[in-house]
Structure formats: structure tokens, C-alpha cells
Symmetry: C2
Subunit: 100 residues, 2 copies
């Protein structure tokens, strides 16, 4: 991905494993993929869940936050899914890696 | 955590689940906790592994990258543990959350 771009780090502790959540998470990922500025998503769930999505600009992130189904999910997150969560909006300043 | 601070997003695909890796990962986490500027760490492993560590400054991150045991682990990562990895150095620009 071409620098600079932004990363949204979403970490959470779920109330319990939840089929409703899993379906919504998949739906939202597909939606995000269709949004302008979307660059990619990484997630993992173990003791805590982590989702990182990548966007071109802060404006793209704001539009994604305001997207209708995403708003709905944010409400459900607070009322049902999450014990706790934390969102961190970050600017990616350097990037490097390794491929076997 | 008080803004601004920096997040290091480390994502990886492992070659295989690895006891040696797990011991090193735990050791490194303890080491990082003793470094100046260390603010916290989040990680999860599912299909992909994600580790996010939080630091006060870019200089703290550079010192952590140069730390001897961490250097050793970086070498092992390339020679043994990882099929692929990606490190992204990010500036956290906004943060908010929810607690039940």
C-alpha cells in the first residue's frame, strides 16, 4: 500500500461467541470492501479480538463510520456483543515486511 | 493512553505452530514491557497473527527494534517462523471506546 495511509485498529472483548455477530462481521467486511478509499482488512480473534482496516484518508474512515449498516452494528456492539472495545485511528508512517 | 503516541502493527502468517516461537514471543513481550516508552501490547492469532504494541515515540520503537533478543527473534522469524510478515509503524491520531 502506498504511504501515507491510515489504519483503524479495533480491539474488543466479546460478551460471548455470537453467531449474529459473525454474520454481521462478514456482511460489514463485504460492505467496507465496496467503500471508497478502502485498502484492506486484517483480523484475528483469540483471547481478544483485533480488526485492522486500512483506508486512504481520514474522510474515508469517517464515511465508513457513518455508513448505515455499520451504524446499526455499532449500536448492537454496545447493546449486545461487546464487554469492552477500543478504536484507535492511526496514521501509518512506515511499512516493511518479509516474504518467504 | 495519552495522545499522540505510536502503534506498531505486526501481522504475520506462520510457517507452522511452533513451541520455540511461543516461548520467544512470551520472552519478548516481557522484555518490551521493561523498555522505555512502552505503553502496552495487544495480540491475537487466528488465521493470521496480529500483534500491536504501543509506544510513546518513534525513538522508543527504534530502540526496541535494535534490542538484542529482539534482533535474534527477527532473524529466527525470517529463517524459521514466518511464511510472511508485515510491520506498519503508525501514529495514533484518535482514540475512543466503550466499557460495559
Amino acid at each position: 500500500m502506498e504511504l501515507p495511509y491510515y489504519a483503524v485498529i479495533f480491539t474488543s472483548k466479546q460478551t460471548s461467541v455470537n453467531r449474529d455477530y459473525q454474520m454481521a462481521a462478514q456482511h460489514l467486511e463485504e460492505l467496507a470492501q465496496g467503500m471508497s478509499g478502502f485498502l484492506g482488512i486484517d483480523h484475528a480473534r483469540a483471547d481478544i479480538g483485533i480488526t485492522i482496516s486500512y483506508w486512504k484518508t481520514l474522510e474515508d474512515i469517517a464515511r465508513w463510520k457513518a455508513q448505515r449498516d455499520h451504524q446499526e452494528a455499532q449500536k448492537k456492539g454496545k447493546s449486545q456483543w461487546y464487554e469492552q472495545y477500543r478504536v484507535r485511528i492511526c496514521k501509518v508512517e512506515r511499512e516493511y515486511g518479509f516474504d518467504r
